[in-house]
Subunit: 335 residues, 2 copies
DNA sequence: CTGTTAGCGCGTTCAT
DNA sequence: ATGAACGCGCTAACAG
């Protein structure tokens, strides 16, 4: 493969001039530009970004670390990230941690080695190792979807407390007094916030917060399914179930389906996270919807802003609203 | 950030010795290893892959170029790619072309510059520019999901002809004689193959192939929706509709829903590509399902095999079977 | 507007 | 088992 040197010889100029023309940096005559571009075309020259990066200390590359790209929420988010990054001249590495701290740390290490210009991270649980390592290396970082206690970082997420509060209020307004919440892991902020919102709504309504009504599990369908079975065994049986993310909510609906329980006739169901309308024929679930694509765009824009002025400026917290969408899975409590 | 030199000084050895310990290459004493590792830990040294790549001409990086990661088929595929790549020590760049040839070429150029070790590509339409460019640079390439006329490349895809043939036979066996096929773009191989399979089944059954029954559009929901409207206006009206991918099939179902037409009572519907069971409460659509995750794994394994022996060996074509899953959207033709 | 020099951080080559 | 010298391809810094 030809190098700048070959192009330079072919065009009868010095390597640095070739560099200037290719990168549109510095200045050069129209005549030189033409000769260089002709040489580039003739030789089929392709610039070597690796060498360029070694010299310039920039790779035009960012990392996106999520728990599972297969979750439609993260898929949309990833698409937002890629669109925004691509427009700004960045290429995106993507990584799935499956909520495993070790995987997160392994990826962080590799990507630090690869000299990514910035990190977009959905933290697995509440380990700070990765974050501290990234910060120690002075690489811009934006945390997405979750917060972590005691760290000052740029972040973009949705208002889970408020979304959860509104969903719970909706159920209360329908007459439900016994509402089960099937949550994710205890140490993930989205779980914590959604429990808080739920609790706030109950207390505002003068109802007791019963810890037994909150089941902690994983943000996966099988967890939603299994915990619903447990909820159904409770006495008195809740008249509404709140699934704390999309997978859990689907697990809830499956379990109710399998148990022959009518929704919303016998039990109402609400969920957090909507499914993209491109995937659903007739949306049924009442949800608090998060603007996943938009979150990806915002986080990427924030990150790219940071790339210029490393470390400078106050950390920013972008908190986007959720939108409650009422559909067929919720109805009046009977009894 | 510290470099090998700093580590070397700190450990009282030469840079190359540090390199040997870190990469477990060459030989060194146990004593040296300990001193180097202590220095690495003390300084928080992280190897610079960019410099390493410049020297070694390998980046341990591959590119995945798909039309749209938001399509669950590509999402699962991407997950298969990432899992396999990660296990083998590779990191993945992901890119969305939206079926645009210019985007494909732009990404190809950028990734060539970034010296990716290999390409996984779902080609947009039938332009060969990107492929020829990649081949000219001698970078291993595996084409996924589609074939292109007149190029010898490694590829992994499903047997769309057979899947389509079986879906059509299923409809025929249910008594349908007037089956509309809503397809993707005319120049994409998956469209071509699915029309072929459909045609084969009809002709085998002694039925005429009526080109008017095949509507070409895009592989998107709005296209499936709009073309269904057109199909519904036909006289005689088809008793079954075949959506050539997941998005189209959903568009078909939405259009029938909006038109108040019962499925399968009045019209049966089949689709290509299944939706992940994690996303669906009660699967309804009869489909030919493609093992998307597996395709991603296979393609990545094939690519990684190639990375060792560049250009050597015969090009390989992996063709995986589809699986027809009969569900509630198909019923007997009445009439 | 253009060129010279030097060096980014690492690993290959050859020596000891 | 260890080290010295050199160069991967490019561009920053400094001329002119």
């Amino acid at each position: 493969m030809p190098t700048v040197l070959d192009v330079a010889k072919c065009a009868g100029v010095s390597p640095i001039t070739v560099s200037r023309v290719i990168n549109r940096s510095g200045s050069f005559s129209e005549e030189t530009r033409k000769r260089v571009e002709a040489a580039v075309a003739e030789l089929g020259y392709v610039q070597n970004s690796v060498a360029r990066s070694l010299r310039s200390s920039r790779t035009n590359t960012i990392a996106l670390i999520v728990s599972d790209i297969t979750n439609p929420f993260f898929t949309s988010l990833a698409r937002g990230v890629e669109d925004t990054a691509s427009d700004a001249g960045y290429t995106v590495f993507f990584c799935n941690t499956d909520e495993l701290t070790e995987e997160e740390e392994r990826y962080t290490q590799v990507l630090l080695q690869k000299q990514v210009d910035g990190f977009l991270l959905v933290p697995a649980h509440s380990s700070l190792n990765s974050i501290e390592k990234i910060q120690k290396h002075n690489i811009p970082l934006v945390i997405i979807d979750r917060w972590l206690p005691g760290v000052a970082v740029d972040s973009v997420r949705c208002d889970s407390v408020e979304g959860s509060y509104q969903l719970t209020r909706l159920l209360l307004s329908l007459g439900h007094r016994n509402i089960a919440l099937i949550s994710g892991p205890k140490d993930v902020s989205t779980s914590i916030d959604r429990v808080s919102g739920y609790r706030n709504a109950l207390e505002e309504a003068g109802l007791p917060f019963d810890p037994a009504n909150v089941q902690y599990g994983e943000f996966v369908q099988s967890s939603g399914y299994a915990l619903t079975k447990r909820v159904l065994a409770m006495d008195p049986r809740p008249t509404a179930i709140f699934g704390a993310n999309n997978f859990i909510a689907i697990g809830v609906l499956k379990a109710l389906n399998d148990a022959g329980i009518k929704v919303p006739g016998e039990i109402s169901v609400v969920g957090f996270d909507d499914l993209p309308e491109l995937l659903v024929v007739s949306p049924f679930l009442t949800v608090a919807s998060q603007p996943a694509y938009e979150m990806g765009c915002r986080a990427t824009r924030l990150l790219i802003e940071r790339l210029g002025k490393k470390g400078a400026g106050e950390k920013q917290q972008v908190i986007l609203p959720t939108q409650v969408i009422v559909r067929g899975s919720t109805g009046a409590a009977n009894g």
